[in-house]
Symmetry: C3
Subunit: 354 residues, 3 copies
């Protein structure tokens, strides 16, 4: 990617509300991590741990917090270095300019309402009654079903599918290939076959949610599947019908949440976690990768394993498992020793006979 931005350190200090230690006229042209930064780049220390790496960095300047001194180039001193790094990246990599308007190859229903400031890409399909908010961007080849509503500054990547019943708040970002609003998975066996239970509900996605590539979020049977504001969802995540995800939660790639389960606020599900149906996960619960959540989890708890157990317990079990083959031998030795002392009979057969 070619990036033509350049700033003086003085300009950056102003933009980041930073205190500059060094030459305000020095020009930088990019942002890079410590190891790969060159003299034209500004780099950053989000943590004091990186001090040693900074000493050998060729960066032209550093963004750093209060405690980090003795750096080999000018310093933009800030209170919150990681937040400043984000501000810095936004300066050097601004969103591409929004070119308002509907591409002539888009197929837009006559009664769809598309804000004049929105951008609709080539070969997009927007069905009857859909509403696209101000400054929203609809990527090429996206599909927006009948009656779908997306708020201000939403961004749909290419190949996104939003089906009828889907309503987005503002600034929702959906990556390519995600499918929102497909039928939930509900059937009733009538003795001969599985009959489909019509899925009549919708999907509500609140403000500032991000949804990863090739995710699938199903519409509710009745009511709504809900993703509350500020929640971030990684790629290939599955949310079943009537799931509710609380505010500011994090769902890492390939997570699956079954029908009607409710995650609280600030929940973190690491990669490939599975959550059974009708489960409640308390606020702030943190579930480790690949865990299988079959029952309710407490707010604030940390969980691991399948079935998911409190982390400390799970780690003790993992450690003990490593000793299982040894334990079997020790028990056999004990049985022999106790039999020799006159106890018994013992051993697997005796245990079964109990």
């Amino acid at each position: 990617m070619v990036n033509r931005a350049e700033f003086t350190l003085g300009q950056l200090a102003e933009a980041l509300s930073a205190t500059l230690e060094g030459d305000a006229g020095r020009v930088v042209r990019g942002v890079a991590p410590l190891e790969s930064a060159g003299p034209d780049d500004v780099s950053f220390l989000t943590d004091g741990r990186y001090r040693a790496a900074a000493q050998t960095s060729r960066a032209g300047a550093f963004v750093a917090g209060a405690g980090v001194t003795g750096l080999p180039a000018p310093v933009l001193r800030v209170a919150a270095p990681q937040q400043a790094m984000i501000d810095l990246l936004l300066l050097f990599h601004p969103a591409p300019p929004l070119v308002a308007g509907v591409h002539p190859t888009a197929i837009v229903a006559a009664d769809a309402r598309i804000d004049a400031t929105a951008a609709v890409g080539p070969l997009v399909v927007i069905e009857a009654g859909a509403r696209i908010g101000a400054r929203a961007r609809v990527g090429a080849l996206a599909y927006v079903g009948a009656g779908v509503e997306i708020g201000e500054e939403c961004v749909l990547g290419p190949h996104v599918t939003l089906l009828t019943g889907t309503r987005f708040g503002r600034r929702v970002l959906v990556h390519p290939g995600a499918v929102i609003g497909a039928d939930g998975f509900g059937f009733a066996f009538d003795g001969a076959q599985h009959r489909k239970i019509p899925q009549t509900g919708g999907v509500v996605v609140e403000d500032d949610v991000e949804i990863g590539a090739n995710c699938a979020i199903d519409r509710a049977t009745f009511g709504n599947t809900i993703v509350r504001r500020g929640t971030k969802i990684d790629n290939l995540v599955q949310l079943g019908h009537n799931v509710e995800v609380g505010e500011h939660s994090i769902l890492v790639a390939q997570v699956g949440v079954s029908g009607s389960s409710r995650l609280g606020r600030g929940v973190v599900l690491a990669g490939q976690v599975g959550v059974a149906d009708h489960v409640r996960v308390g606020d702030g619960a943190l579930v480790g990768a690949q865990a299988g959540v079959a029952g309710d989890l407490d707010a604030g708890g940390r969980y691991l394993g399948t079935p998911a157990r409190p982390s400390l317990e799970a780690k003790r079990i993992f450690a003990a498992e490593s000793r299982l083959p040894e334990l079997l031998r020790r028990v056999r030795a004990l049985e022999r020793a106790v039999e020799a002392l006159g106890g018994g009979p013992l051993g697997p057969k005796a245990a079964r006979d109990e």
Copy 2:
């Protein structure tokens, strides 16, 4: 979703073959679950367990089975309440009307045969020799490869991809983003690199199958990958080349089945289950979420865990695992006690030396 249907209870009684207990002239305008139903809605009790919830429901009428009495509004009495609920939902939420014809922006090969009663949406691509059956619906932006055949009343969602070698029966429903007929994953290492084994077979999907959003079902190396009639597949499921899934099976979200494995009739694989290659799963086997199936499973069996074990055994192991750290301490205590009694030496070191 706006829903303009309205029915009198008398009309509903007739449509559902129900016995009406109450005012035949009363009008209802929607279907809703007990908790959210209002006076304009008909609600339902699929099970006697919901009797208490029904007492406080504001629903204008109830669909209920024989045993449930004393409800606070008119009752449509039926033999099978869950099936009646489906009938009811179909009355209030009929499929959108089929507007036959090919959208002018669809790109259709000259020799593709599209039934005059089928509906092909905008920006669809249909390649040479494909056949689309009567009353089928091909969603916007779908891709139908050369020679693909889909039967009567099939429905392809937006962004579905069907590749060469795919043949569908009737009433197959495919949700957006699913990819059917991509190459199976087969390579032979030639000493320097993995050479691709050409995948020359197809995919056969029989009548009444449903395939979820963003699924991937690969074509066979030779012959066909087969999904038999009545089987329902949730989102993000992977079926490898030459897999065969029996009739009326249920594959929940994010399941993966490896090459050449065969599932019987009426099999249920819960979410995130993985099945190794060349495995046979007997008719009616039920496999719990996240299980890993590495070997054949018996018909009618219930299985859990990785590696998958009979449920009862797996549950006993899960329970025992929780006691593992305690067990280690108990064995250590036993070793000390036995040594004190004159047995031994015992313990981890002795166990290793055995």
Copy 3:
């Protein structure tokens, strides 16, 4: 699929550098496995194990290695039967002819550079500055973002999405629905909400890589996510930002690799394996299905389970787990026997009190 190719055994012997044992003039019209081959088909024994099956095969000819004799039809004798089988399949199933040119319905930016020998399908979108190499094929409805580069003979299936920052070498094959170059999953909590860390890097895919249907490979935060040459990736695989996959590796379906992890050369991850972030997996390591890799793995090692352990150890633990319920009973019996001998008190309570 209709397949019109036909060859004499003499022609095949020449094409495969095989020694023919039998009638050079005999004509065959297809390739099929032993069980389903008919007299018009050539079949193959990739391994001596299949000798018995070959005896009852109706195939018109066989491809076989040196040691396999007494077959019931002419034999094309080769040094490497599996490689010869691939050559044979390529003869009977050649790639469809490449029809160079850009379909009139494709939307191609004025400054995109598309080689005159490349084929761009209907309803494709190619953005500004993209480059498509010689004899590349871009499938229908694919999206190629601004500045993306794809080399000679790459093949993009329908509905593939390549976003800005993606660069492909030669002969990269991407199956439908895969999304390459979406934002990595990176956020920094600012006390009130998760702020998005702009993802400014790219994705580099080297020569001869294959990427499965509906995969997601994210762009790097800085620098590149890298898939090195010859690596084969199955369907629904997730690679996070800044992942690096070494040469000639195999990633089976539904694998997930978290941010910044590095896999060596010739690594095999079986289906549904998860790899945590910042992990290193050594060259040639082989990880069994559904394993959870939380820490570094040695080159050449074989691993299983969650957390991933060396296979031998994991298998011993799996075996011992089956005996856990019995073990609990044996320990209880031991405790009683030792108490009877005058040791103790023992048991769960005593163990807790320790």
